[in-house]
């Protein structure tokens, strides 16, 4: 059985592999930016090491097994290495291919396999009743108007699993709908009809399963009448914007405009539909990998922050294209929790060195990761989502 798995794997790796791995000249530049390498200092886990493993299989000097699989799932998929690689090695492409081959050969690690099964069975990442996706609306002052769209909405708000189902993140969707309502945005909520965007499945190497999610979610959004979809989660955003069009080659996702909360908030601020109270603090902005490097959205969140009177925005040592991953990406949290708990320290240190009072993110996963680490490390620095900042600092808002 195992032998067959390995043979399948070797077969799949053949085509194109050479031109992917031969680009690596082993200079080592990726070692300076890879969060996993910077923490572990183990070459086998580095981007250069992964290319070498891929190559060794391609050249038939290494057999694929569980250990091999583990190395390829020990990655945040943050793409920092791709950004600095002078030779243009596409490690993300290599990883997607290897993970797909591993998944198809039954070599995906058990913890990730369980995550996949949960998503497929429950429609969300945390094995909740999918109807509980509305839990976050429970303690709001008034029921969000987004439920009564009557099929006439302009924008569908795709809330995402973490914000829907993790109580510590509820404040993000609450803030966003409060802001939409104050600004007069005609939006719709999909509630229990929303399913996981499929990104964790895609990261695990299971595009076919991700495609099922994509089909369902596009249909659910179409039912609201909206032609725009907004999300606060950069991973959902990256999935909808870049992966759905590739997966749905029947064109069913055509014509949908995909927006991240930061883009929508920036537009509302620019057109004078958001009026802010002064907030005399020094903050830094943390670029998430899926929104920044993978989607090129860097300025929108900063424009919103600069629109708040008396706020001072400072940058950390690594920012924009060179932003340092919080440690929460790539399903690594599911695979190696201990490692992921160690990763955010470096980022928190950068925020402290920049003398920021708050870290502003626009990603519920970055918020969870950085907040959790700050609590563990007893570092007095708050992490807030941009949506929370905006809702709190709007004229008439409850402060942050």
């Amino acid at each position: 059985m195992t032998t067959n798995k390995i043979e399948t794997f070797t077969l799949n790796i053949g085509a194109l592999a050479e031109e992917l791995y031969l680009k690596c000249i082993r200079c080592g530049e990726c070692l300076s930016v890879c969060p996993v390498y910077r923490e572990t200092r183990i070459e086998t886990l580095s981007p250069r090491g992964k290319v070498a493993l891929y190559r060794a299989v391609g050249e038939d000097t290494l057999k694929v097994g569980d250990v091999y699989a583990g190395k390829f799932y020990t990655c945040l998929m943050c793409e920092a290495c791709r950004e600095v690689c002078p030779s243009g090695v596409e490690l993300d492409v290599i990883l997607n291919r290897v993970r797909a081959d591993l998944a198809h050969s039954g070599l995906m690690p058990d913890s990730l396999q369980r995550l996949s099964e949960t998503i497929v069975a429950a429609g969300n990442i945390s094995d909740e009743d999918n109807e509980q996706r509305l839990g976050w609306t429970g303690n709001m002052k008034s029921t969000p108007v987004g439920f009564d769209h009557g099929g006439q909405a302009e924008v569908a708000y795709f809330v995402g699993c973490v914000s829907s189902l993790f109580p510590a993140s509820y404040r993000i969707p609450q803030s966003l709908v409060e802001t939409f309502e104050k600004a007069g945005v005609n939006y719709a909520l999909i509630g229990g009809d929303e399913r996981c965007c499929g990104y964790p499945l895609f990261l695990n190497g299971e595009s076919e399963r991700a495609l099922e999610m994509a089909r369902h979610n596009v249909e659910a959004v179409r039912a609201t009448g909206a032609t725009k979809v907004v999300m606060a989660c950069p991973s959902c955003y990256h999935m909808w914007k870049h992966v759905y069009p590739e997966l749905l080659d029947d064109g069913s996702a055509d014509g949908l405009e995909i927006l991240h909360e930061t883009e929508m908030l920036a537009e509302l601020a620019r057109t004078g539909r958001l009026r802010f109270k002064p907030w005399p603090v020094t903050v830094t902005y943390h670029d998430s990998c899926d929104l920044g490097r993978k989607s090129g959205v860097y300025e929108a969140p900063r424009q919103v922050l600069r629109a708040i009177p008396e706020l001072e925005l400072v940058e950390m040592a690594d920012h924009h294209e060179n932003s340092l991953c919080c440690g929460g990406g790539g399903n690594l949290e599911t695979y190696d929790r201990e490692l992921v708990q160690a990763l955010p320290r470096r980022r928190l240190k950068q925020a402290q060195d920049a003398e920021a009072q708050h870290i502003i993110v626009s990603c519920q996963q970055c918020k969870r990761t950085l907040l959790g680490a700050a609590q563990r490390e007893k570092i007095r620095i708050r992490t807030l989502d941009l949506a929370e900042v905006v809702a709190g600092q709007l004229e008439g808002g409850d402060d942050v």
């Binding site: 000249i25 200079c27 990726c30 183990i42 070459e43 070498a52 493993l53 690689c85 002078p86």
Partner: protein, 460 residues
């Protein structure tokens, strides 16, 4: 594979997790930044000097080769375990131990990343000048073991000029401290500087004390474009002889320019033969007058365009091109052999002409860039190792390159080290007597020949 008893013994020294034996790990520790590779039998990652000592006692007893490695970004195949044995990775030993501002010296474990040490020094308001291009992805211990240079060496000297003291573990496991914080010290042989550049063949460097200097108040950068390479060569000598006192003079030839432009798209001219990058530093007035002098000399020597950066951002942008060259070459051909021949600076134009001839003779693209101010050129031969006939020509070209360097009065290696790749040419460069004396040193320090065997010197 090693005897399981030996593996158990190693695990008892460093802990189970820090002995790597999976085939995957052996692949990952089989290479450096060159095109060659060979897998070790195992990898051991000690946490401190005492563990290194225990490991070496065992290795010496069992006569097991020990190949010490930092981040594996060397350019001479010096940390590749060709004869198998164990790779001793010092990357876990990465602490900055002391920043002594009174004496202006820093002490760190060998595995610290060089730029992290330099950044700590800079945050305190001082300057650690040695700056190999890989300073963000190489270790201080590796820099010392290869006596790494860098662009700033023109004015400030190389790594070895900053090393004050070392803690090393000898082949038999004894721990030795040499040097100290006294800036003058002629008590006994200068063992510090015997160990600097010894490429892991004499001892394992575990701790390094370097000095640092006052930070220059400001830096100024200029970029000069030369339609003719020989004019650039003349300009370099002119600038060095002037009072400009440049801290850096770097050259890129037309192949390097094209390669970088294709990668970065920053508007470099594609119809010229050379670009010179120059930097001056010091107080504002000195730096400014120096860079103007250098710029004027370039204009007088045939530069078609000379730009002096007005802002630090502009300066950073100019340097971006130079820093990107080495990596960008992979876009042209899958393999490169980056040499670091160094010649008297007056011979730079002649050496460049000879390299061009070698490129034509062997029908191989050779990109030339490097630290022209100190005569340290980086001719990079681009090739595809899968093409056996082409690889033969590469070997021929390398031989010619080294002969040319020696003939114009230069050396095989300015900053990468001998490793394995330059070994066949060692006697040509040093002569038989010097090679013999070096072998005797090796014999005295490492009688069982366990430390990085087969590197730097012909096998006994």
């Amino acid at each position: 594979m090693f005897d399981p008893k030996i593996i158990d013994e190693l695990k008892s020294i460093v802990g189970e997790r820090h002995v790597l034996t999976s085939p995957e790990d052996l692949v990952a520790y089989s290479y450096d930044a060159t095109f060659t590779s060979a897998r070790p039998n195992l990898v051991v990652l000690p946490a401190n000097t005492a563990e290194v000592s225990e490991i070496l006692k065992m290795a010496n007893r069992e006569v097991i080769p020990v190949v010490t490695r930092g981040m594996g970004t060397g350019l001479s195949a010096g940390s590749i375990p060709f004869g198998g044995g164990m790779v001793l990775s010092l990357t876990r030993m990465d602490r900055l131990l002391d920043l002594d501002l009174d004496n202006m010296m820093a002490t760190a474990e060998a595995g610290i990343i060089t730029s992290e040490l330099a950044d700590a020094v800079a945050r305190a308001g001082y300057f650690y000048p040695p700056d190999p291009t890989s300073d963000h992805y190489s270790t201080l211990g590796g820099n010392v073991a290869c006596n790494a240079g860098g662009a700033h060496c023109l004015k400030y000297g190389i790594t070895g000029h900053y090393v004050m003291a070392l803690e090393v573990v000898l082949a038999d496991g004894r721990i030795m401290r040499v040097g100290g914080k006294a800036t003058k010290n002629v008590t006994g042989y200068d063992l510090v500087h015997l160990l600097v550049g010894s490429e892991g063949t004499l001892a394992v460097i575990t701790e390094v004390t370097v000095r640092f200097i006052a930070a220059p108040e400001t830096e100024r950068t200029a970029q000069a474009i030369f339609p003719k390479l020989t004019d650039a060569g003349r300009a370099i000598n002119g600038v060095l002889a002037s009072g400009a006192n440049p801290s850096l003079v770097e050259i890129m030839d037309e192949t390097a320019i094209k390669s970088v432009e294709e990668y970065l798209h920053i508007g470099l001219p594609l119809d010229v033969e050379a670009i010179l990058l120059m930097q001056t530093d010091g107080d504002a007035a000195d730096a400014a007058s120096g860079i103007e002098t250098a710029a004027e000399i370039c204009r007088q020597n045939g530069a078609s365009e000379v730009r002096v950066a007005d802002t630090p951002q502009e300066s950073t942008e100019m340097w971006r091109a130079r820093k990107a060259i080495s990596g960008s070459l992979g876009r042209i051909r899958p393999n490169k052999l980056g040499e670091d021949v160094t010649v008297p600076h007056s011979a730079v134009p002649e050496m460049i002409v000879r390299i061009k001839e070698i490129s034509t003779k062997w029908d191989l693209p050779i990109v030339i860039f490097g630290h022209a101010g100190d005569g340290n050129l980086h001719p990079n031969i681009l090739f595809d190792k899968r093409d056996e006939e082409e690889f033969k020509r590469v070997k021929g070209a390398v031989g010619d390159l080294f002969r040319a360097a020696v003939e114009v009065g230069g050396s095989l290696s300015g900053e990468h080290g001998v490793g394995v790749l330059k070994l066949p040419y060692l006697e040509m460069a040093l002569g038989p007597v010097a090679v013999e004396m070096q072998k005797r040193i090796k014999q005295a320090w490492d009688p069982n020949n366990i430390l990085n065997p087969g590197k730097m010197l012909p096998e006994p």
